[in-house]
């Protein structure tokens, strides 16, 4: 395959990790909660899926069942993390930044403990071919476009549709913008916050699982996962809180990240090793620029949800 095409597909495949992560974060932020626990949640999602696969990887179950059970495992652990986060920040009105950071500390740590106990020959070698359907076995980067990749696209589009085209989405956005108003018109603010955080966490968790089982397929994959959790949070700003824009954003981020490994292969581009870190820095710099420009332009639609980071307590005025 053409090296350029290979590179572009690879960027897209890489980007699916962030698509999951940032779509999950967008749902949570739309409910008014800045969840800095996303890196931890993604790690736990990865660990949950691998944990199940470690049990059933060699069981001889039908492949589709193994695929589904792995996904379920990923969802369960990451949604549990989401539940901890929502209990602390919604019910107990704890500081969101501190809770999120604690969750990341916890999630990353627990994932590493769990993963160190798993057997890569069981959870990875066999199942990876099932997850990489329909392009399993190819030698180019098309092989990474597996079940979870397409699921990512579906989830992203579905999230955008729900957020901007349905009653539920409208009410969720109202909760994040102005919880007091939402409360006054009879929306159950607490329920929406819980649902958005838990579902968002589940989605983000799948990103971690995808990264380990489909994109990287290596025993050490989990060690680099945390960084991509943070990148997912950056992508939320880049995508201006719109899930469908994360497809473009994650492609760009994926492009810049995998650039550094491809660019050295292209003879006619003169690059030094020093260019690599600068390329990897670009996504963050671009995110900052987007953040600054959107705050200068001050277009209301492109701002963070108005109540982001604030706890809601009905009787506080």
């Amino acid at each position: 395959m053409n090296i350029w095409l290979n590179f572009l597909i690879d960027s897209l495949a890489f980007g699916a990790t962030f698509m999951y992560g940032s779509t999950g974060e967008i749902l949570t932020e739309k409910a008014g909660h800045l969840n800095l626990g996303i890196p931890g949640i993604m790690c736990m999602g990865g660990a949950g899926g691998c944990l199940i696969l470690n049990m059933i990887g060699k069981s001889g179950l039908p492949p589709f069942l193994i695929v589904i059970l792995g996904i379920l495992g990923s969802l369960i652990l990451s949604m549990l993390c989401g539940l901890i986060y929502s209990f602390l920040t919604v019910t107990l009105r704890a500081n969101q930044n501190v809770t999120g950071l604690a969750l990341t500390t916890f999630g990353v740590g627990l994932m590493k403990v769990i993963m160190s106990k798993l057997d890569a020959t069981v959870y990875l070698i066999g199942p990876k071919m099932m997850y990489r359907w329909p392009f399993a076995g190819r030698q180019d980067s098309l092989q990474c476009l597996g079940v979870l990749f397409f699921l990512a696209i579906i989830i992203v589009l579905l999230s955008s549709w729900v957020l901007f085209r349905t009653r539920v989405g409208l009410q969720l956005r109202a909760v994040g913008e102005n919880p007091a108003t939402a409360d006054a018109v009879g929306i159950n603010v607490t329920r929406y916050k819980y649902m958005a955080t838990c579902i968002g966490s589940g989605i983000a968790g799948l990103g971690g699982f995808y990264y380990i089982i489909d994109y990287m397929v290596s025993q050490e994959a989990y060690l680099s996962l945390e960084a991509f959790g943070w990148l997912s949070i950056a992508l939320v700003i880049f995508a201006l809180w719109r899930p469908h824009l994360t497809i473009i954003g994650s492609f760009v981020f994926g492009f810049l990240f995998s650039c550094s490994s491809y660019i050295t292969n292209i003879s006619w581009i003169q690059v030094t090793m020093a260019t690599k870190p600068l390329l990897k820095m670009l996504p963050y710099v671009v995110t900052i620029i987007v953040l600054v420009i959107s705050s200068i332009r001050n277009k209301r639609e492109n701002q963070p949800p108005a109540s982001l980071g604030l706890s809601y307590f009905r009787e506080e005025r």
């Binding site: 009410q171 913008e177 006054a184 018109v185 009879g186 108005a306």
Partner: protein, 567 residues
């Protein structure tokens, strides 16, 4: 045609702690009528309506709808009984369109379709004669459009009884006319409309009947056609009550603060102060009366440098000609700067420049009282920040309405709150808490602030004590002008009298006191002159000793003629 009863309230009582907001109120509303609920600020109108709308729950009494007793526990219950209330503070999501706000929170089995909602909203708007684009975002809307959205929101939910809390307070005359047209159309449609207001002309114009509340009690309900503005005013304000506030006759009142043709637009671009002109004299209390939200807050804030004004003059006069200079209100630096400008002369009318003199020598000379001002001091306060006003040496004290959100820092203790005005004193970067602490102790002692000690966060004090701390601090700043916005709001009788006495003492010391109040009885007994404002414009300045409650009441509700010309 026999009128049909829509809503009845029987013996409704509601109290908040020791304060009885509504005392056995009875009220009837018929189908197809507009009922005005009239009363002064704090007479319990809004509380009463909130009980129909499900915000509060009555302590006693019954609510009947179509003759059947109902229990309304929440706004949702109210909607189920087809009651909708449009609050003064809109509850809208700024980022959403009109239609999105209308549909928010409603449950429907139909598929959510914004186009259909847009059409429905447009249909309601057309039916009653509103002008509204359903796809317009709230943040792009004027206040009147936002109000329209709120009304449509209520109609969309099928309300038959609409309650509007001071709907005209924020509207222009044309918008009011349009709103009244809409209300009349809704009335013809068989809806019951309750409008809370204190503007008499509007009551006369739009309502069928008027219910008057005074101090939480229902005074009377009369047919609008059979009454007059004068009669309504009398029922609304009641007989004058003797409060026995000591008031001295002003001695040689001299102009201190002169405001000329002041105009201000607020952040939303609304013209909130219109050509305001007045003079506040030293040694006098100038009262400002008016319906809440007529521009009182904005006026005081623009004088104190917190809001940039559009046009006009704010001038501070200090009659200093041939009087000795002192360090009381000025620092050494300021005194030297003024001397350099030739502002001083000595007993022999020679210029004093202090050129080449040491600070010590200057201090001695000044303290001997031999350095005199050549002219009266006239200072422009417009477009100055609070800090710049202070640096000019103008002692302007301001007791804002929002005590804990603006005047004081709730989490800080009394000593630290004393420092808010004075913490910059002293050369080094360190704070000196000695003086503020002594000051705090003095205020606690003098004003009988009940607190465990100087290190108690002010948030933990009761309302009256918080206010004593705030007023005490502002007075300790030895002001020349003292502005106080609603300084006795929420205070008990004793604390209120403490505040009145403090203000009186300041007046006797020659301070120009500006008192924004809501209780007309207090204004009449405390102030020397009363300026009445309505809709951001002055409707009259009267002598407090000779005027009557009725006269002020009429001025408060009088529409500014010029406003009509603008239209």
């Amino acid at each position: 045609m026999e009128k049909q009863l829509a809503l009845q309230m029987r013996g409704i009582t509601k109290s908040f702690g020791p304060v009885v907001a509504n005392n056995h109120v009875d009220l009837d509303v018929y189908r197809g009528e507009i009922l005005a609920v009239l009363g002064e600020n704090g007479c319990g109108k809004t509380t009463l309506m909130n009980m129909i709308a499900g915000i509060y729950f009555p302590d006693e009494g019954q609510i009947l709808i179509d003759g059947k007793e109902v229990v309304i526990r929440s706004p949702k219950d109210a909607f189920e009984h087809k009651i909708g209330m449009i609050h003064q503070h809109f509850k809208l999501v700024d980022l959403f369109t009109a239609a999105e706000n209308v549909v928010l929170g409603t449950e429907s089995k139909e598929k959510y379709n914004l186009k259909a909602v847009n059409a429905q909203v447009a249909q309601i708007a057309e039916r009653y004669g509103f002008r509204l684009d359903p796809a317009k975002k709230i943040y792009d809307m004027s206040v009147s459009e936002k109000q329209t959205v709120e009304i449509i929101k209520v109609l969309y939910r099928g309300a038959d009884i609409l309650i509007l809390d001071e709907p005209t307070a924020v509207l222009t005359p044309q918008e009011i006319t349009r709103l009244f047209d809409v209300l009349r159309r809704m009335k013809e449609d068989g809806k019951s409309i309750i409008i809370i207001t204190h503007k008499l002309n509007e009551v006369m114009e739009v309502s069928d009947r008027v219910a008057i509340l005074r101090r939480g009690e229902h005074v009377a309900t009369v047919n609008t056609a059979e009454t007059s503005e004068a009669e309504l005013t009398e029922m609304m304000v009641g007989k004058k009550i003797d409060l026995n506030i000591h008031r001295s006759t002003p001695v040689n009142a001299i102009p201190r603060l002169v405001v000329e043709d002041l105009n201000l637009y607020n952040a939303e671009g609304i013209h909130v102060l219109k050509d305001i002109s007045f003079t506040a004299n030293g040694g006098e209390i100038l009262g400002i009366a008016g319906i809440a939200g007529s521009g009182q807050k904005e006026l005081l804030e623009s004088i104190s440098g917190l809001q940039p004004v559009e046009s006009g003059k704010i001038t501070f006069y200090n009659p200093k000609k041939d009087r000795p200079v002192s360090f009381f209100h000025k620092s050494m630096k300021q005194v030297r700067a003024l001397a350099a400008k030739g502002a001083f002369h000595d007993r022999n009318l020679n210029d004093v420049t202090f050129h080449g003199m040491s600070n010590k020598a200057v201090r001695k000379w000044v303290q001997n009282g031999d350095v005199l001002f050549r002219e009266d001091e006239v200072m422009n306060l417009r477009d100055k920040t609070p800090l710049e006003i202070r640096q000019l040496g103008v002692h302007l004290s301001f007791v804002p309405e929002d005590r804990l959100g603006m005047g004081l820092v709730g989490s800080m203790d009394i000593t630290d709150n004393m420092m808010l005005r004075s913490y910059r004193k002293g050369k080094l970067g360190f704070l000196n808490r000695k003086k503020p602490k002594a000051q705090a102790e003095e205020i606690i002692r003098e004003l009988e602030v009940s607190t465990p000690g100087v290190s108690t966060p002010v948030r933990r004090l009761s309302g009256g004590n918080v206010q004593k701390v705030l007023v005490g601090r502002e007075i300790a700043y030895t002001p020349k002008v003292l502005m106080a916005a609603y300084p006795v709001r929420g205070l008990d009788i004793n604390s209120s009298y403490t505040i009145y006495n403090l203000l009186n003492r300041q007046k006797e010391n020659g301070v120009a006191v500006i008192y924004v109040g809501e209780d007309l009885d207090v204004l009449l007994e405390l102030c020397d002159r009363i300026m009445v404002i309505n809709g951001g414009a002055v409707t009259g300045i009267v002598d407090a000793r000779t005027t009557t409650k009725e006269e002020i009441g009429l001025l408060m509700t009088k529409t500014d003629e010029r406003k009509e010309e603008d239209a």
